[in-house]
């Protein structure tokens, strides 16, 4: 329904630097100050270097790269969890991060309580959750366990409920980080079907996954990240091919 054309995510010269701090103690920090700041209390590390990227509304983008290449960092910058040290990132519409499914779940609360808490954390209003509650439970296939504390859930149930809440938040932009490859076979198929349905509805998807075959079926465009830099941006099959080539060369 939203036409291709409007920019959904705009990253311009994004730079993110992490400080690997060696101390959490005030005493050590003070000693360091008194001693004339000798030595390094911290080491700096550039996780993203001048990343520029534009994603249009309705596009489905797979973000690929080896471990530590900065994929999660980029997603966190887009969701607002992290703030850039340089450049700007801007988004249009509500962004829901499936950065890690089940973040915000509380083990000692029932499934029902967690649906409300997690729904609210992901930006839903009370009315929206009330309306979608049954649909959330149905999709998750949790059934009567909805009033059981989630610590008694199997990891599959846990994931299904979390995923179900997330897809019901109805955002404009979906950020998905490494969660598609979990859960059992049938539910995974269901998730993928749901994600395809979302993209069919014109939602913007930004997916990180190690399952290259999977992203190739879900996404149209691929972006390859290497050591915090975009090295390739194009058709998903080409990017997957390139990543495969690079992996075998190493």
């Amino acid at each position: 329904m939203t036409a291709h054309g409007h920019v959904a995510i705009s990253c311009i010269d994004l730079r993110k630097q992490f400080v690997l701090r060696h101390t959490r103690s005030l005493k050590e920090a003070l000693v360091w100050l008194v001693k004339g700041r000798k030595g390094d209390l911290s080491k700096k590390f550039l996780a993203l270097k001048d990343v520029s990227l534009e994603v249009k509304q309705g596009e489905t983008v797979a973000l690929m790269g080896l471990n530590g290449s900065g994929k999660s960092t980029l997603l966190k910058l887009i969701s607002g969890v992290l703030q850039p040290d340089g450049g700007t990132v801007r988004t249009r519409g509500r962004v829901a991060g499936l950065i890690e499914v089940g973040a915000g779940f509380h083990h000692d609360l029932s499934g029902r309580d967690n649906v409300y808490l997690n729904g609210a954390i992901l930006g839903m209003s009370e009315k929206q959750i009330d309306e979608k509650f049954d649909s959330i439970v149905e999709f998750s296939e949790i059934g009567e366990f909805i009033d059981t504390e989630v610590k008694f859930y199997s990891s599959g149930m846990y994931l299904r409920l979390a995923f179900s809440i997330a897809v019901h938040t109805d955002p404009e932009v979906f950020l998905i980080d490494e969660i598609l490859a979990v859960g059992d076979e049938p539910f995974q198929r269901k998730c993928i079907a749901k994600i395809k349905e979302l993209s069919g509805m014109g939602k913007t998807l930004f997916v990180v996954s190690h399952d290259l075959d999977l992203v190739a079926t879900v996404c149209e465009r691929g972006v390859l990240l290497e050591h915090g830099e975009i090295v390739m941006d194009g058709d998903v099959h080409e990017v997957v091919g390139e990543l495969r080539r690079r992996s075998t060369v190493q």
């Binding site: 607002g80 990132v89 249009r92 509500r94 950065i99 915000g104």
Partner: protein, 289 residues
């Protein structure tokens, strides 16, 4: 919401405490979760928030009221004592839980963007939920011994409740944010908590401090908690005194006209500094936790 759809916005740039107001539903759920989780598997549940202050009260009453015989010079010493204890408990619980709130919620803060002020504010609400039953006990005790407060005194109670909540929030924001970087923050707060019961006239009388400090007494009065406790004495304890028990110097001179406004200003300043520090440090919470 509509405007958000229409334009490009920078993610993760909030308006601090104002955003918490917009997220009242989530705040409510966080407060409820906190209370549910805290008393999970406990038989007495929320009753514990009565038991603890009562035990505390008994200890002080026996040790100070009876052994040190403070109750002789202070009529209705039990009321005097309890009104101070509940207020100080509210403050210390707010502050220590708010200080830990950011680190405790690190899993969430690292993964999802939320107005981070939600967490300290939620803990202050939880403390308020614990405080209100205690306040009822206090009111009950006051009524038994013949409490006849004026409207002004009742209004003062509400004002002091708000003031202490704001003070706890302000200091909680400050120490909670610093705690992300230096866990020493928790120890500093533990010290404040220890000191605050004794740095306000909870157990003893303000006149004793004046005798000891003389012309420097005003320094003692700069502590907003001191003023808060004194106003509580004025509102709860003084109206329970009979005509022949009335003490001339129940409250320090200028308590309402000078010290209450001063304490309110200091409290607002603390909130301002707390929010300012929090906002500056919050930018890097997710990566430092």
């Amino acid at each position: 919401m509509a405007s958000q759809v229409d334009q490009l916005v920078k993610p993760g740039s909030g308006r601090g405490l104002l955003d918490v107001y917009g997220d009242r539903f989530l705040l409510k759920l966080l407060v409820r979760k906190e209370i549910k989780v805290r008393y999970r598997g406990s038989v007495l549940g929320l009753m514990w928030s009565y038991v603890k202050p009562l035990v505390q009260f008994l200890i002080y009453f026996v040790a100070l009221g009876i052994f040190l015989n403070l109750q002789r010079g202070t009529p209705n010493y039990a009321i005097y004592l309890f009104s101070g204890i509940v207020l100080v408990n509210f403050f210390t619980e707010s502050l220590s839980n708010a200080t830990r709130s950011i680190v405790d919620n690190r899993d969430l803060i690292r993964k999802i963007y939320l107005p981070r002020e939600l967490f300290p504010v939620a803990t202050v609400w939880v403390s308020a939920v614990h405080f209100l039953p205690q306040l009822l006990v206090l009111v009950g005790a006051c009524l038994i011994v013949g409490w006849t407060p004026s409207v002004l005194q009742l209004a003062a109670v509400v004002l002091i409740f708000l003031m202490v909540a704001v003070l706890g929030t302000g200091l909680g924001l400050l120490f909670g944010a610093v705690n992300v970087y230096f866990r020493d923050s928790e120890n500093i707060v533990e010290m404040i908590v220890m000191v605050v019961t004794w740095a306000s006239p909870v157990l003893y009388l303000w006149t004793m401090v004046q005798e000891a400090m003389g012309q420097w007494f005003w320094i003692y009065q700069l502590n907003p908690m001191t003023v808060a406790v004194e106003v509580f004495h004025w509102a709860f304890w003084e109206p329970t005194l009979k005509a022949d028990q009335l003490v001339a110097d129940a409250t320090p001179p200028g308590l309402l006209t000078l010290w209450l406004p001063v304490a309110t200003l200091i409290t607002l300043a603390v909130l301002f500094v707390g929010q300012l520090t929090f906002r500056r440090l919050a930018v890097h919470f997710a990566q430092e936790l």
